[in-house]
């Protein structure tokens, strides 16, 4: 009888042990390195020559001025003719006024230069590589760039999908731009987020980072579109750490930025479309779906459009972006590494006040 009672007691204990269940979520990300977000040099990229009213309002806010010290206006396009647009006088005057206004607010202003066709949408790496191979084209672009950059504190060169064969010509071009603009103007480049050599990302092998580091003042590691072309978050914090470390190993003490996407992606079989935070909220509302947090904290929702086509949307809000930044404590990414906030205007508007409060 006692043995039966003993066995019953042990069975009851065994039955209840292991019956734990999950409750609410507690966020301790980054607490091992101290509370808050390390103070880092902040740059925000605005896609265009003139910030719209929403972007201008954010740039004028005290919160953003606390977080961001530099603005990149992704405005210029290097053309096949060797011109760098905008070429119209009125457009250049407008751009100079915008740059001056931002400088008055305390920002450094950089001119972002894309190497795309005139639509500013199509990135043909092979075409750009052919242009870079032409010393004449390089000289003309450099001269045009020098003139356009007068209103700014420097230029940022943004290349897409360059083939490995462009490696030498790219270094030659950056050297020529650096020689023409420095030291009065700063020169930076956007480099793909390689984590190994040979590169594991498209276009990465075209960048001879040790050589390029001699001719530039800052390297921006474009840790964007992590999941592309698949559905997934736009950034994985651990992956970004690996990309930054790889770049640091190649460029030594050159200042580096790690990019944080402010936009989200809507992925379907048609491709990937960038969406803003508010677009994602509208999709959730219209299609009556509740966003859920993915493993990194990025928000995710799925819906089928009016034609029945399935879509996956991944985007960040202030909380998930802050979590990413907190995961990059000073022991993980040195405080000397800056942050490039990519895509001004697409963010959760609470991001800047949240960041301002979280920073020391």
């Amino acid at each position: 009888m006692k043995a039966i009672a003993l066995l019953a007691g042990l069975a009851v204990t065994a039955a209840i042990s292991g019956c734990g269940f999950s409750g609410e979520t507690v966020d301790h990300v980054g607490q091992g390195d101290g509370a808050g977000i390390p103070a880092r040099y902040g740059t925000v990229l605005s896609d265009g020559c003139t910030p719209d009213t929403w972007q201008a309002s954010a740039l004028a806010s005290a919160d953003m001025r606390r977080v961001v010290q530099e603005v990149v206006l992704l405005c210029a396009t290097a053309r096949a003719s060797g011109d760098v647009g905008p070429v119209d006088g009125s457009a250049r005057t407008q751009f100079a006024q915008v740059a001056a206004g931002l400088q008055q607010k305390g920002y450094k202003v950089k001119l972002g230069v894309q190497f795309s066709d005139e639509t500013a949408e199509r990135y043909d790496g092979a075409l750009t590589a052919a242009q870079l191979a032409s010393p004449t084209w390089r000289l003309e672009v450099t001269a045009s760039l020098k003139q356009l950059a007068q209103a700014t504190d420097g230029v940022e060169l943004v290349f897409h999908d360059l083939p490995p064969t462009a490696r030498g010509d790219l270094s030659a071009f950056v050297k020529e731009v650096g020689a023409a603009l420095r030291p009065s103007k700063k020169v930076g480049i956007f480099a793909p987020p390689s984590t190994q050599d040979p590169s594991d990302v498209p276009g990465g092998n075209a960048f001879d980072l040790p050589a390029l580091s001699q001719y530039i003042d800052r390297l921006r590691v474009t840790t964007l579109d992590y999941a592309d072309p698949q559905s997934g978050p736009t950034i994985d914090p651990g992956w970004a750490v690996d990309a930054v470390r790889f770049a640091q190993g190649r460029v030594g003490s050159l200042p580096i930025d790690v990019a944080v996407p402010l936009y989200g992606n809507d992925v379907s079989d048609l491709g990937t479309r960038n969406v803003s935070y508010f677009e994602a909220l509208a999709l959730a509302f219209d299609y009556r779906v509740a966003p859920s947090a993915g493993p990194t904290g990025a928000l995710h929702l799925s819906y089928s459009d009016a034609t029945g086509r399935p879509h996956d949307v991944w985007y960040d809000d202030a909380q998930s972006t802050v979590r990413t930044l907190r995961a990059w404590g000073p022991q993980v990414i040195p405080p000397s590494v800056g942050i490039l906030y990519y895509g001004l205007g697409a963010e959760d508007p609470l991001l800047w006040p949240t960041l301002a409060r979280a920073m020391p």
């Binding site: 003993l6 019956c19 409750g23």
Partner: protein, 228 residues
């Protein structure tokens, strides 16, 4: 009836002696004549841990990143489990817990805890925690009053705790493990009522003096003991 004495026993044959003595159905003895007698206990218990330890995460080999590092404490946790142990009593009052094992696992709700290691987001799942104790020797004192017995013991041990975790990699996660090891020093207080000459049922409460930190846990439960 088996009567035993320390006289003539060498330490080398103590374990053999204890094994021969551990015939609990025959272990009935008159307390006044007992010099050294073996007993045992089974228990079902609950444990409240004030703060789970800082655990070490080890990512699996198929994880995109090779990670290893310390995770933050997930806070308090309640566990339930069972244990078994051997004790030896010397005369009427001295008692020496020998060896035992305890196993417990989380019960009730506990939060999903997000943290990070080397930039990667890590999720800890305290509700999947299990804990194993290897109970090592201690010393105690007991008093008997008719059918009642009261005892206080201090004993040592080693505690191993493990908790499920995962490492984020974009939209996916890689399962990982986290664990911690600690020296155990705890007091055991119990009140027992004798059921027959060799069996008793006890209520025991055991505050940990040290278990992943000072004063970090308390265990309470019912024990079924057999022995003198």
């Amino acid at each position: 009836m088996r009567r035993v004495s320390m006289a003539g026993l060498s330490s080398a044959c103590l374990f053999s002696f204890l094994a021969l003595t551990f015939a609990w159905g025959e272990g009935r003895a008159e307390a006044r004549e007992t010099k050294l007698e073996l007993g045992g206990a089974f228990a079902g218990f609950g444990t409240y841990m004030r703060a789970m330890p800082t655990m070490t995460l080890t990512a699996p080999g198929d994880s995109p990143r090779s990670l290893r590092g310390a995770l933050p404490s997930t806070g308090h946790l309640t566990l339930a489990g069972a244990s078994g142990e051997l004790t030896v009593a010397v005369d009427r009052h001295l008692v020496f817990p020998l060896f035992g094992f305890a196993f417990s696992a989380a019960v009730g709700g506990s939060p999903r805890v997000l943290s990070s290691i080397d930039g990667s987001i890590v999720e800890q799942r305290p509700w999947s925690t299990y804990m194993g104790d290897v109970l090592l020797p201690g010393v105690g004192y007991r008093v008997k009053e008719q059918r009642w017995m009261f005892s206080a013991v201090v004993r040592t041990g080693v505690t191993y705790a493990a908790m499920g975790a995962s490492v984020a990699s974009g939209a996916d996660t890689a399962a990982a493990s986290s664990s911690a090891l600690s020296f155990l020093l705890r007091a055991e207080l119990e009140a027992c009522r004798r059921l027959d000459p060799v069996e008793r049922v006890c209520f025991a409460i055991s505050p940990s003096i040290y278990q992943f930190g000072f004063g970090n846990a308390v265990t309470a439960g019912l024990r079924w003991e057999f022995g003198p």
